[in-house]
């Protein structure tokens, strides 16, 4: 808020000058596409989750690419076998933290939803099937059974104006690591 000793106009002019200088210095960093901002937000949520899991277990990135990078699965259409995931070891059990894996409904096999991040049981297996009802049978449909899911996480914008990190967490089944 404006200082008592400074007029509103003077305060505004000073701030405007400072903001312009800031924009000039950092525009190459902040002027990125919406997709990159959304990706950053999503990864920030993953970091929050992993930071919590670090307190109860050991994390190990798996299936890195040839450059040693973590290859982030950005769409449920991607084959999870081609992307990286996190192994979470708790009390001798190795859970899987994965992104963009569809979960098949317990009640109806034809229904699936896709949380942004899931924690899967150690024995979980991402199945792939060709189904005429999905992409005319031209692409594989990847999913896991609901009973293999420990928890599901949705990256969510809290309000229309907000992009501040918010993570909705559902505990689905099993005895998950504490978050």
């Amino acid at each position: 808020m404006p200082k008592k000793t400074q007029s509103d106009e003077a305060w505004l002019a000073t701030v405007t000058t400072a903001v312009k200088a800031f924009c000039h210095e950092y525009k190459l960093i902040y002027a990125v596409k919406a997709r990159e901002r959304a990706a950053s937000f999503e990864i920030g949520c993953l970091h929050m989750l992993l930071t919590n899991y670090e307190q109860v277990g050991e994390l190990l990135p798996m299936n890195l690419n040839e450059n040693g990078e973590f290859r982030y699965l950005t769409s449920p259409n991607g084959n999870p076998d081609n992307f990286s995931w996190i192994q979470l070891s708790v009390n001798g059990r190795d859970f899987q933290v994965r992104q963009q894996v569809r979960v098949q409904s317990h009640w109806q096999d034809d229904i699936a939803f896709c949380p942004d991040i899931v924690v899967l049981k150690p024995e979980a297996n991402v199945q792939s099937v060709l189904d005429e009802d999905f992409a005319n049978g031209k692409r594989k449909f990847f999913s896991v059974k609901s009973d293999q899911v420990v928890s599901a996480h949705r990256v969510q914008v809290a309000q229309s104006l907000s992009r501040v990190a918010c993570l909705i967490h559902w505990r689905v089944s099993g005895s998950p690591p504490v978050v």
Partner: protein
């Protein structure tokens, strides 16, 4: 001006800043490749952190409190302006 800075923080800075404090295991030593062109690594984290810190210093210099930036709705911001000490 306050509403502009709040919007910049909410829509631009906060999402970019969110990914810069990775756990030990990922995002710094091990870069994250998102799609074909986007990489989250230590270099990017440092640049975004510097931008974020400088933005917060700028706001502090003009006595704009952090809670003003963190207001998520216009009504929240107006309430905070009116209830500020």
């Amino acid at each position: 001006m306050l509403f502009c800075l709040n919007s910049f923080y909410q829509r631009i800075l906060a999402p970019l800043w969110a990914s810069t404090t990775p756990p030990e295991v990922l995002g710094s030593k091990i870069p994250i490749r998102y799609g074909k062109t986007i990489v989250f690594d230590a270099k990017r984290n440092a640049a975004v952190n510097k931008m974020g810190s400088n933005f917060m210093q700028l706001c502090q210099r003009f006595q704009i409190q952090q809670m003003m930036l963190e207001a998520q709705r216009t009504s929240d911001l107006i309430w905070k302006i009116n209830s500020a000490p």
